[in-house]
Symmetry: C2
Amino acid sequence: MSAARDEHEEAAADIAAVEQANTDFYEAMERGDLAALSGLWLPGEDLTVSSVHPGWPVLRGRGEVLRSYALIMANTEYIQFFLTDVGVSMTGDTALVTCTENILSGGPAEDGNALGPLVGQLVVATNVFRRTPEGWKLWSHHGSPVLAETGEEEDEEPSP
Amino acid sequence: MSAARDEHEEAAADIAAVEQANTDFYEAMERGDLAALSGLWLPGEDLTVSSVHPGWPVLRGRGEVLRSYALIMANTEYIQFFLTDVGVSMTGDTALVTCTENILSGGPAEDGNALGPLVGQLVVATNVFRRTPEGWKLWSHHGSPVLAETGEEEDEEPSP
Protein backbone atom coordinates (compact mmCIF):
# COMPACT_ATOMS: atom_id res chain seq x y z
CA MET A 1 0.00 0.00 0.00
CA SER A 2 2.80 2.35 0.92
CA ALA A 3 4.61 1.68 -2.36
CA ALA A 4 1.39 2.30 -4.28
CA ARG A 5 0.89 5.53 -2.35
CA ASP A 6 4.44 6.62 -3.11
CA GLU A 7 3.81 5.89 -6.77
CA HIS A 8 0.65 7.98 -6.77
CA GLU A 9 2.38 10.85 -5.02
CA GLU A 10 5.22 10.68 -7.53
CA ALA A 11 2.81 10.70 -10.46
CA ALA A 12 0.92 13.68 -8.99
CA ALA A 13 4.22 15.56 -8.52
CA ASP A 14 5.22 14.75 -12.13
CA ILE A 15 1.90 16.03 -13.47
CA ALA A 16 2.22 19.22 -11.42
CA ALA A 17 5.76 19.75 -12.77
CA VAL A 18 4.59 19.26 -16.37
CA GLU A 19 1.68 21.67 -15.89
CA GLN A 20 4.14 24.20 -14.47
CA ALA A 21 6.47 23.80 -17.47
CA ASN A 22 3.45 24.30 -19.75
CA THR A 23 2.46 27.48 -17.85
CA ASP A 24 6.07 28.73 -17.94
CA PHE A 25 6.03 28.38 -21.73
CA TYR A 26 3.02 30.67 -22.13
CA GLU A 27 4.26 33.13 -19.51
CA ALA A 28 7.59 33.47 -21.33
CA MET A 29 5.57 34.29 -24.48
CA GLU A 30 3.52 36.87 -22.56
CA ARG A 31 6.66 38.57 -21.27
CA GLY A 32 8.32 38.39 -24.69
CA ASP A 33 11.23 36.70 -22.90
CA LEU A 34 13.10 34.85 -25.65
CA ALA A 35 15.92 33.75 -23.30
CA ALA A 36 13.47 32.10 -20.89
CA LEU A 37 11.62 30.55 -23.83
CA SER A 38 14.85 29.14 -25.29
CA GLY A 39 15.60 27.51 -21.93
CA LEU A 40 12.23 25.74 -21.98
CA TRP A 41 12.96 23.86 -25.22
CA LEU A 42 15.05 20.67 -25.30
CA PRO A 43 18.72 21.62 -25.56
CA GLY A 44 21.20 20.22 -28.07
CA GLU A 45 20.46 18.50 -31.35
CA ASP A 46 20.00 14.88 -30.20
CA LEU A 47 16.25 15.22 -30.51
CA THR A 48 14.82 17.43 -33.23
CA VAL A 49 12.28 19.83 -31.75
CA SER A 50 9.36 21.04 -33.86
CA SER A 51 6.75 23.76 -33.69
CA VAL A 52 3.59 24.54 -35.63
CA HIS A 53 2.08 27.98 -35.06
CA PRO A 54 -1.59 28.40 -36.00
CA GLY A 55 -1.83 28.40 -39.81
CA TRP A 56 1.93 27.90 -40.27
CA PRO A 57 3.86 25.03 -41.82
CA VAL A 58 6.04 22.78 -39.62
CA LEU A 59 9.26 24.31 -38.26
CA ARG A 60 12.03 21.92 -37.18
CA GLY A 61 15.20 22.26 -35.11
CA ARG A 62 16.06 24.75 -32.34
CA GLY A 63 17.36 27.38 -34.77
CA GLU A 64 14.27 27.56 -36.94
CA VAL A 65 11.86 27.19 -34.01
CA LEU A 66 13.46 29.89 -31.85
CA ARG A 67 13.76 32.30 -34.79
CA SER A 68 10.00 31.97 -35.30
CA TYR A 69 9.34 32.96 -31.69
CA ALA A 70 11.70 35.94 -32.00
CA LEU A 71 9.73 36.97 -35.10
CA ILE A 72 6.36 36.61 -33.37
CA MET A 73 7.60 38.52 -30.31
CA ALA A 74 8.92 41.32 -32.55
CA ASN A 75 5.48 41.67 -34.15
CA THR A 76 3.46 41.39 -30.95
CA GLU A 77 3.03 44.39 -28.70
CA TYR A 78 0.80 42.59 -26.23
CA ILE A 79 -0.26 38.97 -25.78
CA GLN A 80 -2.12 37.20 -23.02
CA PHE A 81 -2.97 33.50 -22.83
CA PHE A 82 -5.89 32.25 -20.76
CA LEU A 83 -5.43 28.49 -20.66
CA THR A 84 -8.50 26.30 -20.24
CA ASP A 85 -9.24 22.58 -20.48
CA VAL A 86 -5.63 21.57 -19.71
CA GLY A 87 -5.11 17.80 -19.91
CA VAL A 88 -1.91 15.87 -19.15
CA SER A 89 -1.22 12.35 -20.43
CA MET A 90 2.15 10.93 -19.42
CA THR A 91 4.25 7.81 -19.38
CA GLY A 92 7.89 7.35 -18.42
CA ASP A 93 9.83 10.40 -19.52
CA THR A 94 7.33 11.82 -22.01
CA ALA A 95 4.31 13.98 -21.24
CA LEU A 96 1.67 15.18 -23.65
CA VAL A 97 -0.31 18.30 -22.73
CA THR A 98 -3.43 19.35 -24.60
CA CYS A 99 -5.06 22.68 -23.83
CA THR A 100 -7.13 25.53 -25.19
CA GLU A 101 -5.32 28.86 -25.55
CA ASN A 102 -7.77 31.75 -25.25
CA ILE A 103 -5.55 34.47 -26.70
CA LEU A 104 -5.89 38.22 -26.46
CA SER A 105 -3.23 40.00 -28.47
CA GLY A 106 -2.36 43.34 -29.98
CA GLY A 107 0.03 44.34 -32.74
CA PRO A 108 2.32 47.36 -32.85
CA ALA A 109 0.68 50.76 -32.45
CA GLU A 110 -0.80 52.54 -35.46
CA ASP A 111 -1.34 56.24 -36.09
CA GLY A 112 0.02 57.42 -32.76
CA ASN A 113 -2.04 55.05 -30.61
CA ALA A 114 -0.30 53.47 -27.62
CA LEU A 115 -1.39 50.00 -28.70
CA GLY A 116 -2.62 48.32 -31.88
CA PRO A 117 -6.12 46.83 -32.00
CA LEU A 118 -6.71 43.90 -29.63
CA VAL A 119 -7.70 40.61 -31.23
CA GLY A 120 -9.23 37.55 -29.56
CA GLN A 121 -8.28 34.14 -30.88
CA LEU A 122 -9.22 30.57 -29.96
CA VAL A 123 -6.38 28.08 -30.44
CA VAL A 124 -5.92 24.47 -29.33
CA ALA A 125 -2.46 23.11 -28.62
CA THR A 126 -0.70 19.78 -28.22
CA ASN A 127 2.58 20.25 -26.34
CA VAL A 128 4.98 17.33 -25.90
CA PHE A 129 7.53 17.47 -23.06
CA ARG A 130 10.53 15.28 -22.20
CA ARG A 131 11.96 14.80 -18.73
CA THR A 132 15.58 15.99 -18.45
CA PRO A 133 17.94 16.47 -15.47
CA GLU A 134 16.99 20.18 -15.72
CA GLY A 135 13.25 19.51 -15.64
CA TRP A 136 10.59 19.01 -18.31
CA LYS A 137 11.53 20.52 -21.66
CA LEU A 138 9.47 21.10 -24.81
CA TRP A 139 9.97 18.63 -27.65
CA SER A 140 7.04 19.78 -29.77
CA HIS A 141 4.37 22.47 -29.87
CA HIS A 142 1.45 22.34 -32.29
CA GLY A 143 -1.16 25.09 -32.13
CA SER A 144 -4.14 25.41 -34.46
CA PRO A 145 -7.09 27.74 -34.80
CA VAL A 146 -10.51 26.46 -33.76
CA LEU A 147 -12.57 27.38 -36.81
CA ALA A 148 -15.98 26.22 -35.64
CA GLU A 149 -17.11 27.50 -32.25
CA THR A 150 -18.74 24.43 -30.75
CA GLY A 151 -19.31 25.32 -27.09
CA GLU A 152 -19.02 22.85 -24.24
CA GLU A 153 -20.84 19.88 -25.71
CA GLU A 154 -18.87 16.70 -26.20
CA ASP A 155 -20.97 15.23 -28.97
CA GLU A 156 -21.14 18.22 -31.27
CA GLU A 157 -20.51 17.56 -34.93
CA PRO A 158 -18.28 20.25 -36.40
CA SER A 159 -17.64 19.73 -40.08
CA PRO A 160 -14.20 18.18 -40.76
CA MET B 1 32.32 -0.70 -33.80
CA SER B 2 30.01 -3.69 -34.11
CA ALA B 3 27.87 -2.56 -31.19
CA ALA B 4 27.64 0.96 -32.65
CA ARG B 5 26.68 -0.51 -36.00
CA ASP B 6 24.00 -2.67 -34.37
CA GLU B 7 22.66 0.43 -32.66
CA HIS B 8 22.49 2.33 -35.93
CA GLU B 9 20.76 -0.56 -37.65
CA GLU B 10 18.28 -0.80 -34.79
CA ALA B 11 17.55 2.92 -34.96
CA ALA B 12 17.07 2.75 -38.73
CA ALA B 13 14.67 -0.19 -38.30
CA ASP B 14 12.75 1.72 -35.61
CA ILE B 15 12.41 4.77 -37.84
CA ALA B 16 11.21 2.61 -40.74
CA ALA B 17 8.62 0.96 -38.46
CA VAL B 18 7.37 4.35 -37.25
CA GLU B 19 7.11 5.67 -40.81
CA GLN B 20 5.15 2.54 -41.75
CA ALA B 21 2.75 3.04 -38.81
CA ASN B 22 2.28 6.65 -39.94
CA THR B 23 1.56 5.52 -43.52
CA ASP B 24 -0.84 2.82 -42.24
CA PHE B 25 -2.78 5.52 -40.38
CA TYR B 26 -3.41 7.54 -43.55
CA GLU B 27 -4.12 4.45 -45.66
CA ALA B 28 -6.77 3.31 -43.17
CA MET B 29 -8.37 6.76 -43.55
CA GLU B 30 -8.23 6.46 -47.36
CA ARG B 31 -9.95 3.06 -47.26
CA GLY B 32 -12.49 4.28 -44.69
CA ASP B 33 -11.42 1.28 -42.60
CA LEU B 34 -12.47 2.16 -39.05
CA ALA B 35 -11.47 -1.26 -37.65
CA ALA B 36 -7.92 -0.92 -38.98
CA LEU B 37 -7.79 2.67 -37.72
CA SER B 38 -8.96 1.62 -34.23
CA GLY B 39 -6.15 -0.94 -34.11
CA LEU B 40 -3.58 1.76 -34.86
CA TRP B 41 -4.42 3.80 -31.74
CA LEU B 42 -3.07 2.90 -28.29
CA PRO B 43 -5.38 0.34 -26.71
CA GLY B 44 -6.86 0.56 -23.20
CA GLU B 45 -7.26 3.61 -21.03
CA ASP B 46 -3.84 3.74 -19.30
CA LEU B 47 -2.74 6.55 -21.60
CA THR B 48 -5.31 9.06 -22.77
CA VAL B 49 -5.12 9.44 -26.55
CA SER B 50 -6.02 12.75 -28.16
CA SER B 51 -6.79 14.02 -31.64
CA VAL B 52 -7.19 17.46 -33.17
CA HIS B 53 -8.68 17.57 -36.67
CA PRO B 54 -8.05 20.74 -38.71
CA GLY B 55 -10.18 23.51 -37.20
CA TRP B 56 -11.60 21.27 -34.45
CA PRO B 57 -11.27 21.44 -30.67
CA VAL B 58 -9.26 18.76 -28.80
CA LEU B 59 -10.86 15.30 -28.57
CA ARG B 60 -9.65 12.99 -25.79
CA GLY B 61 -9.98 9.27 -25.07
CA ARG B 62 -10.47 6.36 -27.48
CA GLY B 63 -14.27 6.67 -27.48
CA GLU B 64 -14.40 10.31 -28.47
CA VAL B 65 -11.45 10.07 -30.89
CA LEU B 66 -12.74 7.00 -32.75
CA ARG B 67 -16.28 8.41 -32.97
CA SER B 68 -14.83 11.47 -34.71
CA TYR B 69 -13.16 9.28 -37.34
CA ALA B 70 -16.40 7.34 -37.88
CA LEU B 71 -18.13 10.69 -38.40
CA ILE B 72 -15.50 11.94 -40.86
CA MET B 73 -15.56 8.65 -42.78
CA ALA B 74 -19.38 8.78 -42.98
CA ASN B 75 -19.16 12.25 -44.53
CA THR B 76 -16.28 11.53 -46.89
CA GLU B 77 -16.91 9.77 -50.17
CA TYR B 78 -13.30 9.94 -51.30
CA ILE B 79 -10.07 11.00 -49.62
CA GLN B 80 -6.45 10.70 -50.66
CA PHE B 81 -3.39 11.78 -48.68
CA PHE B 82 -0.12 12.63 -50.43
CA LEU B 83 2.40 12.86 -47.60
CA THR B 84 5.41 15.09 -48.06
CA ASP B 85 8.19 16.40 -45.81
CA VAL B 86 7.90 13.49 -43.36
CA GLY B 87 10.24 13.88 -40.36
CA VAL B 88 10.75 11.42 -37.51
CA SER B 89 12.21 12.39 -34.13
CA MET B 90 12.44 9.54 -31.62
CA THR B 91 13.82 8.55 -28.26
CA GLY B 92 13.23 5.40 -26.25
CA ASP B 93 9.64 4.29 -26.74
CA THR B 94 8.22 7.54 -28.10
CA ALA B 95 8.36 8.79 -31.68
CA LEU B 96 7.17 12.11 -33.02
CA VAL B 97 6.30 12.35 -36.70
CA THR B 98 5.74 15.67 -38.43
CA CYS B 99 4.49 15.74 -42.01
CA THR B 100 2.52 17.65 -44.60
CA GLU B 101 -0.76 16.08 -45.69
CA ASN B 102 -1.63 17.12 -49.24
CA ILE B 103 -5.28 16.11 -49.19
CA LEU B 104 -7.65 15.57 -52.09
CA SER B 105 -11.16 14.76 -50.90
CA GLY B 106 -14.73 14.62 -52.08
CA GLY B 107 -18.02 14.65 -50.19
CA PRO B 108 -21.12 12.58 -50.93
CA ALA B 109 -22.58 12.86 -54.43
CA GLU B 110 -25.02 15.67 -55.26
CA ASP B 111 -27.75 15.80 -57.90
CA GLY B 112 -27.13 12.33 -59.29
CA ASN B 113 -23.39 12.76 -59.79
CA ALA B 114 -21.18 9.80 -58.93
CA LEU B 115 -18.98 11.92 -56.69
CA GLY B 116 -19.21 15.26 -54.90
CA PRO B 117 -16.84 18.07 -55.85
CA LEU B 118 -13.17 17.36 -55.14
CA VAL B 119 -11.39 19.73 -52.74
CA GLY B 120 -7.65 20.15 -52.24
CA GLN B 121 -6.39 20.97 -48.76
CA LEU B 122 -2.97 21.58 -47.23
CA VAL B 123 -2.64 20.32 -43.67
CA VAL B 124 0.37 19.82 -41.38
CA ALA B 125 0.34 17.13 -38.73
CA THR B 126 2.21 16.17 -35.58
CA ASN B 127 1.66 12.47 -34.82
CA VAL B 128 3.00 10.96 -31.59
CA PHE B 129 3.53 7.19 -31.44
CA ARG B 130 4.36 4.83 -28.56
CA ARG B 131 6.15 1.51 -28.88
CA THR B 132 4.01 -1.44 -27.71
CA PRO B 133 4.45 -5.22 -27.95
CA GLU B 134 2.08 -5.00 -30.96
CA GLY B 135 4.09 -2.30 -32.71
CA TRP B 136 3.97 1.50 -32.77
CA LYS B 137 0.57 2.91 -31.81
CA LEU B 138 -0.83 6.43 -32.04
CA TRP B 139 -0.95 8.44 -28.83
CA SER B 140 -1.82 11.78 -30.40
CA HIS B 141 -2.69 13.28 -33.78
CA HIS B 142 -2.83 17.03 -34.34
CA GLY B 143 -3.63 18.30 -37.82
CA SER B 144 -4.01 21.94 -38.77
CA PRO B 145 -4.66 23.89 -41.95
CA VAL B 146 -1.76 25.78 -43.51
CA LEU B 147 -3.36 29.19 -44.04
CA ALA B 148 -0.49 30.96 -45.77
CA GLU B 149 0.99 29.20 -48.78
CA THR B 150 4.69 29.77 -48.32
CA GLY B 151 6.37 27.49 -50.83
CA GLU B 152 9.66 25.72 -50.21
CA GLU B 153 11.67 28.48 -48.61
CA GLU B 154 12.86 27.97 -45.06
CA ASP B 155 13.16 31.60 -44.06
CA GLU B 156 9.79 32.84 -45.19
CA GLU B 157 7.90 35.02 -42.77
CA PRO B 158 4.24 34.01 -42.71
CA SER B 159 2.15 36.22 -40.42
CA PRO B 160 1.41 34.56 -37.07
